[in-house]
Symmetry: C2
Subunit: 234 residues, 2 copies
DNA sequence: ACACGAGTTTGGTACAATCAAATTGGAAAC
DNA sequence: GTTTCCAATTTGATTGTACCAAACTCGTGT
């Protein structure tokens, strides 16, 4: 079965969904602006409000519309971040299945291994200075548990931005938002923070010296250590 | 903005969504079985049918329920494939934006580079025999354009299955279903098929000899060649 | 020029009714 | 006894109307 999605089924709502979808992606319905009122749409499409409403709900679930409780629906042109919110529910469910967290974490390690290798091989001066800045921020926050957590994530985030491909930062957001709940419980002692920082530094150094193998090793050591913490919480 | 999803908003429909979501994931509502009738649900939750309907629609969009036009809604425990259909619309839109196809293709190359490296390092005897079988099938289909295309995809698919992580095959499905439309137009001459086959064989050989660097090189050469075809069609 | 408040717009929910397709169950046929 | 086939019923899809409360508008008064 290769993506059935929608076939012959011609629910009235689907017609509206398709039409609005086109208007949003074509720009006829401007980004960040409110959708026409339900009552107008119902008149335009010659259907009942129920149907219009269902269509809107559908678009909201697909991330093309932002739906706040009592407010006008707001048009949102999709970006790679939209994919995250659209998949959030499913992912969260999958994570609760046996091995779910491990599978996702393993994927993250896989990705970042490739990223640090590439960084070691192709990082520009600017990339490296970004990385250095992130590392410094990380060091400065050594004593501030809260801030350290943020800079930790930010450091990894730089790696995802090196390739200049918007898909990767989106993946980073996904990894952090889906996996960090499993981190939340883990004690963030100063000792631990220092060890994390040193890992980051090792990765940075290897990249600086253009040594992909060592960069990959350092990353694996880093993320394996983190994983052992996660494992304990189960 | 880190995944707002739903906040304070307490729409009545959301209550039902949450409840049914729990019943589905807990198994109280069995997989592949129809949902209770809307009228029963409306009585149970003490709401109008409108709300029940909206909730069902929402669950359908999230992939937890399959909704065929006039049939009973069917419960579907999500798997990693569900993510694909849930994101299909958005991805297809993103691909039409400038650089969209290239970004996705680049991600695919990135992933497969890691996969072949890992394969060269860690593939079990069974993995390798799977790969060999796929390669043979690919060779046999050299003269059958249709079949060759399938075995081409299958060969790459083996790589995604080596890690034993269900996320990767799902990614493969995504790549093929989202990118192959761009392949469709490209001429599949016998000459071209042979060149593709030889690329596959080079990758296989490198993996067999446990040489990750050569495997990666072979893969890059292979996918770069394919990309040049895609580029021409723009 | 600014704050305020009444009136209007709009989304959220409810209820009742109709239609057409799907499902079921029992009668008829083999 | 098993199968076939046609009602009767179930159920999803859609319509229309109505009401409420929150958001929004706009004009008034300070």
């Amino acid at each position: 079965m290769a993506i059935p999605d929608n076939q012959g089924g011609k629910r009235a709502a689907d017609v509206i969904v398709t039409a609005l979808e086109a208007r949003i992606t074509s720009g006829e319905l401007e980004n960040d602006k409110p959708l026409p009122p339900e009552r107008d749409l119902m008149e335009e499409f010659g259907t009942s409000r129920t149907v219009v409403r269902e269509a809107i709900s559908s678009l909201a679930n697909r991330g093309l519309i932002e739906l706040r409780p009592r407010f006008r629906p707001i048009v949102r042109k999709p970006d790679y971040g939209t994919l995250l919110s659209a998949t959030g529910t499913i992912v969260r469910y999958l994570l609760n299945e046996p091995g779910g967290v491990q599978n996702l974490y393993q994927s993250r390690v896989f990705i970042e291994r490739g990223l640090v290798r590439d960084a070691a091989l192709n990082a520009t001066k600017e990339n490296i200075s970004d990385l250095k800045a992130a590392l410094l921020a990380n060091e400065k926050a050594l004593d501030h548990s809260e801030e350290f957590f943020r800079t930790d994530i930010a450091f990894h985030g730089v790696l995802y931005r090196i390739g200049n491909n918007p898909i990767f930062p989106a993946m980073h957001e996904g990894f952090t938002s889906w996996l960090s709940p499993n981190w939340a419980r883990m004690t963030r002692s100063d000792d631990h923070n220092r060890s994390v920082y040193l890992d980051h530094k090792a990765i940075y150094d290897a990249i600086l010296e253009r040594d992909p193998a060592r960069a990959e090793e350092a990353l694996i050591a880093h993320l394996s250590a983190a994983w052992s913490y996660v494992e304990e919480t189960f």
